[in-house]
Assembly symmetry: C2
Homo-oligomer: 170 residues x 2
């Protein structure tokens, strides 16, 4: 699959990088990252329900959401948006409540490839090698991969009634 997620976990540096292409315009991919009603429909692995406390995708905004597993287990995430530039770039912090104060910072680039296609590139920076390794081994890659599949389904207007009601229009 030409659009498959690629993940890089560099040895000896506390970074994770990934890249994912989409056959959708950058404005649509960006909007799906910006609007909480859309974010709730794709972010995270299949099978987890997402409840958003707040999600204010703008420079100086903040977010907090919970992923709820079928057995009721809750996973809470929060952070702040240092920078958000429309259809271009975002920098956010990321904290998982199970590991308080272990906060990473992620640099997300939305690149217009032309021809109605987009490349998403992320550079995540962890406060220690242990934190980076913990994240890399946490099932992060499959969660990301599934999330981006769900994002594609949302952008295509396919999938569940929820996704259809949240269809991204140009």
């Amino acid at each position: 699959m030409t659009n498959a997620l690629t993940v890089n976990v560099p040895e000896g540096l506390p970074f994770i990088e990934f890249e994912r292409e989409f056959d959708f315009p950058v404005a649509d991919v960006f909007r799906a990252h910006k609007e909480p009603e859309l974010v709730a429909q794709w972010l995270g692995p299949r099978g987890l329900r997402m409840e958003i406390d707040h999600y204010d995708f703008r420079t100086g905004g903040s977010y907090r959401y919970t992923h709820i597993a079928p057995d009721g287990t809750e996973y809470r995430f929060s952070g702040i948006f240092h920078t958000v530039r429309e259809n271009d770039f975002a920098i956010q912090t990321f904290e998982f409540d199970a590991y308080p104060d272990v906060v990473s910072i992620e640099f997300l680039t939305f690149q217009d490839l032309g021809g109605g296609r987009t490349r998403l590139t992320a550079h995540s920076v962890y406060p220690s090698m242990e934190a980076r390794d913990g994240m890399a081994q946490s099932g992060m890659e499959s969660g990301l991969s599934e999330g981006y599949e769900r994002l594609e389904e949302l952008l295509a207007g396919a999938g569940t009634p929820q996704a259809q009601s949240g269809k991204v229009t140009a």
Copy 2:
């Protein structure tokens, strides 16, 4: 000097660490980091005047300030506070306008040593080795060192009339 600034620039990891002790209570050291009228009196090297656009030292807050050199050159800094815990801990992002989008994240610990003394410990995380090296070579250490001397003067109620008017009271 038992309270001298110690700086560690670890090889091969994009971090800078530093530590500084003060013969002042943690609440006073914390307040000097929290209140913009106080921050303006110590943060940065001697000889630079600080103008604060905003400085909201709380979880989810943000800051922007300018250091102005005698020749009029301006250096602008901004970021957001991911976490602030009273007399305890803060996490903030840091961006210098001359290097847009090169954003670091800093973990600042305020430790009550007892006996009216405090240890400040910082762990700064850079998005690349180049960014870390650039900061380490920028005169950061002397700027930090001078700033903490100015902080001590402020806490002691000594120094300029400005410092006296901003004296920290228990």
